[in-house]
Amino acid sequence: MPDLVRFTLNDESTEVHVDDPTATLLDVLRHKLALTGTKAGCEIGYCGSCTVIVDGRAVPACLQMVGLLTGSNVRTIEGLSSPEGLDPVQNAFAECAGFQCGFCTPGHVMALRALLDQEPDPTEEQLDATVDGNYCRCTGYAKIADSARRAAELERITRRRRLEKQEENA
């Protein structure tokens, strides 16, 4: 009898039936929910390619048991951009050439997104520590570090605009 797990995925309530509640979120995303933007790089929690946001924290989906997700809020790379455009973090990577093959990119983007959600005005050390948590084999990290700084900048601009808009509307 499969277990039913209910959680919120990219702002939509989601139900999955899993034979084994210790199945990983990575496996469920990629093979049950057809969300292949979250990448498998090592499946032992080292490389960070499968980073998603669970209840506001960046976690490697390869180590997240899906059975523990009941009631949780999960965000993946597919939930980041909207029809109106890319997230500031994504825009920063595009502007700064912060990706090459792009395989580790969703993980880097989600890790920085989680940081900016928690720390809208992060220090350079926080940005660097976040980049240091994920592998990249192409870039040598210089342009990812640039992207992280640019993401923080774009995030501040986006938040200010949002505030201004709210004030206008009020």
């Binding site: 990448k39 390619s49 595009a94 990706f99 792009g102 240091d132 084999r137 192409c138 870039t139 990290y141």
Partner: protein
């Protein structure tokens, strides 16, 4: 031996808009939103998942294979062994690899059997249920074991375990040594380095009407297709390869391993699509890492610092199967000689079979191993000659017009400019004048090709540029994208030639059914070789547009031009014309006898197919680099900190600066990994723990401050003056780090990787005597 010829007239033309600027990558959106489809993201109806059973022995006879238990597992659709294959050996140069082992296994990881099942877990479980009865054989686990008298043979048809051997003496080496005042000799060894692309190797295969379609993350779809067809025992026409998005190549996805072949066999057996993707462990056990080399070098110099002769003896560890290793050994033997004005060079190079993971192409293609040895020998020479290293390099560096002892003809060359600029960038003179304790400085240079004639007498590319009635251009080309941004660069070239915005250009992905032949991403060739083809195709399409516009407007084509996506000119009445190219294209089509705008372009590298002893001008353009690093060593622990790395690259015109910088920065990181961190502890012929937890690739925190610059340079045969840039910045890094450590604390490491342990034990030899248990500091080599 080096002859001066008249340098080509280098005329840097005015670059058009969109060339030399930071154009946003054309694949940015799909890669940033998770929509890009990599090998493991392919989903086909009724698709099964594959798993491979690999040998646990480095060398064993297969007595029998019992697949009954695996077949009985629910969800299993096929279990295959060599009996289900064509039993045909394949390989890029020396066919010696079966798709699944026949009678014998030759390394830990060798493919023995495979399973297709409804899901990956079932497939892997079933693979573990296959019973193989092995008779272990004595293995050869090192170069020395393999070359010993009476050593067991890895392949019966390779006596002495020699897979390949060649040598030469060009220019009278002994005479030049006799005339030398200073001789430097030494032996340096490199170790296996894995590409460790974050995406592993994978394939999805499906058969239909007797043909197989393979979606593969390969760098070289057309070359891989030829080898897959051989391995499958199928005529070439029955194999179609489509490139998926590729999550990092670095040489490791060049189609020399069995994963795609096994995938296609499973798909045929089951009659359903099958996906087979390496796990990270499999990638470490059975991909094709960098070839370890033992590189003995002897250099001669005159008293005033002019290099005379070079003699090398190279032993390369092929592993169990050959792949591209013999070509890599060729490059490791000759390529360096383009760099300095050697009067004579002699070499003996041998490729040796061992019962270890097969080796192959990795960014640098043998150059990093050559530079590891020869670069350090040059550093020792500078010391012995009493000449500052940059000055010694400047004294001997080649220039435009040089010809190497192997007939490499150097066209554009700004090596001296690179050396001068990197001296400034690292602050060489200031740091030399103000030495700090435990800090060291070193420099190195290297040379690379822009494409290389390797796979027969063709290193060309062909493209079609179609301009549609919507005003958009499509570049139809089979070269592909492995992450470097090659498709963006090709789009820039097409856009610049056509006079349309780069956003209006699409570049197709490789599909061997749809595009003309393309050799793909190897030998730093795509920008130079394919760039030329695209440029010519776009010029042809542009000419067609102008001629169509001339017919439509009555203004001569020679008086029309295209800019901003519009055809411009003046009609006989002097009125300004400004018509969208899409309108011109549509009008050219919608008329009696109408024709589409399709330009064809083709370019073959102006190079020679080197002969069996590697004589021949292998590329039409050579790229150069000078790099320098400052390191600090903690004398108490041996810990190494790399503070700064500076690189100045001559890659001709820089078409897209951030993309070119990214190639240099990424190459430096891989060079630092090769130098300092990337290794396994080995036991019984295999890595003890083949995961990222044991194998440390560089992280952001480990990276030094980087200074990346480009020489002012223009390659007359390149598209808008461009040359290759993908590999070169890796090559000198390990040697530079080692020489800088020697400069800092006087310890010269000769075997990679350079670890704190090695430095510590050299600095504290007394400690060793009281510590018999000095814990496996030398277990980094398989032996």
């Amino acid at each position: 031996m080096t002859t001066e010829i008249a340098p080509p007239a280098i005329q840097a033309q005015q670059l058009p808009s969109g060339i030399g600027t930071a154009v946003r990558r054309i694949d940015a959106d799909e890669k940033l939103t998770g929509r890009a489809i990599y090998a493991a993201d392919v989903r086909l109806p009724r698709m099964l998942y594959g798993a491979v059973l690999r040998s646990p022995h480095p060398h064993a006879r297969i007595r029998s294979i019992d697949t009954a238990r695996a077949r009985r597992l629910p969800g299993v659709h096929a279990v295959i062994t060599s009996a289900d294959t064509a039993r045909r050996k394949w390989g890029a140069f020396r066919p010696d690899l079966y798709p699944l082992a026949v009678d014998k296994v030759r390394y830990v990881g060798d493919e023995v059997a495979a399973v297709a099942a409804t899901d990956l877990e079932t497939a892997r479980l079933a693979a573990a249920l296959i019973d193989v009865d092995y008779e272990p054989l004595p293995p050869v686990l090192s170069l020395d074991e393999a070359l010993a008298d009476g050593a067991p043979l890895v392949h019966d048809d390779a006596p002495g375990n020699l897979a390949h051997e060649f040598g030469f003496d060009r220019g009278g080496t002994e005479e030049w040594f006799d005339r030398s005042d200073v001789i430097i000799e030494g032996t340096w060894e490199t170790t296996r380095q894995w590409h460790a692309a974050i995406e592993t190797i994978g394939c999805t295969a499906e058969w239909s009407h007797g043909r197989v379609t393979m979606w593969v993350n390969t760098q070289t779809p057309f070359l891989a297709r030829q080898r897959y067809a051989t391995a499958l025992g199928e005529p070439l026409r029955n194999v179609r390869v489509i490139q998926t998005d590729v999550g990092g190549g670095f040489g490791g996805k060049s189609g020399d391993d069995n994963t795609s072949v096994i995938c296609a066999i499973l798909a045929k057996k089951t009659g359903r699509p099958v996906q087979l993707v390496n796990s990270r462990e499999e990638e470490f056990l059975a991909s094709r890492p960098r070839i370890p080399m033992r590189y003995r070098v002897k250099l001669g110099f005159t008293r005033d610092g002019r290099v005379t002769a070079k003699d090398i003896d190279v032993l390369a560890d092929n592993g169990a199967y050959t792949g591209k290793a013999q070509a890599v050994l060729g490059a490791a033997t000759v390529r360096h000689d383009v760099l300095f004005n050697y009067r004579a060079v002699r070499a003996r190079s041998r490729l040796v079979y061992t019962n270890l993971v097969p080796t192959g192409a990795f960014r640098g293609f043998g150059n990093p191993s050559a530079d590891w040895a020869v670069g350090q020998a040059w550093d020792l020479a500078a010391e012995k000659l009493g000449i500052d290293l940059p000055d010694l390099f400047l004294l001997n560096a080649v220039e435009s017009g040089s010809i190497s002892p192997h007939n490499h003809k150097v066209n554009s060359c700004e090596l001296k400019q690179c050396i001068e600029k990197v001296t400034t960038a690292i602050g060489w003179r200031e740091k030399r004048a103000n030495r700090r304790p435990n800090r060291g400085l070193a420099m190195g240079c290297s040379v690379h090709v822009s494409g290389r004639r390797s796979f027969g007498d063709y290193d060309g590319s062909a493209a079609m540029v179609r301009v549609a009635d919507d005003g958009r251009a499509t570049v139809i080309i089979g070269e592909g994208e492995i992450g470097t941004g090659a498709r963006t660069t090709l789009a820039q070239i097409a856009a610049a030639e056509l006079g349309i915005p780069v956003e209006d250009v699409t570049v197709t992905r490789p599909d061997t059914d749809l595009t003309s032949h393309a050799l793909g991403a190897l030998a730093s060739r795509v920008t130079y070789v394919a760039g030329n083809a695209v440029q010519r195709a776009a010029q042809a399409a542009c000419q067609q547009l102008l001629e169509a516009a001339a017919k439509q407007t009555g203004v001569p084509a020679s008086e029309l031009w295209i800019a901003d996506g519009h055809v411009h000119g003046h009609n006989p009445e002097g009125q300004q014309l400004r018509t969208p190219v899409g309108t011109i294209a549509r009008a050219a089509l919608y008329q009696p006898g109408g024709e589409p705008i399709v330009g064809l372009g083709s370019f073959d590298n102006p190079s020679e197919f080197p002969d069996e002893v590697r004589y021949g001008n292998e590329s039409g353009a050579y790229n150069f680099v000078a790099e320098a690093a400052e390191v600090e060593v903690d004398p108490d622990t041996g810990a190494i900190t790399v503070h700064e790395v500076a690189a100045v690259v001559d890659c001709g015109t820089v078409l897209n600066p951030p993309l070119a910088e990214g190639q240099v920065e990424g190459a430096i990181a891989q060079g630092l990994g090769m130098a300092l961190t990337e290794r396994f502890h080995w036991a019984d012929g295999a890595p003890e723990d083949p995961t990222f937890s044991a194998y440390k690739i560089p992280t952001a925190g480990m990276m030094p401050k980087l200074h990346v610059q480009f020489a002012d340079s223009y390659e007359p045969t390149g598209p808008f003056g461009a040359k290759g840039v993908g590999e070169i910045a890796l090559d000198p890094i390990p040697a530079i780090i080692s020489s800088a450590i020697a400069d800092a604390v006087g310890v010269r490491v000769t075997e990679l990787p350079i670890t704190a342990e090695k430095i510590f034990w050299s600095l504290h030899p007394a400690t060793t005597q009281g510590n018999a248990a000095h814990p496996r500091s030398d277990k980094e080599d398989p032996s």
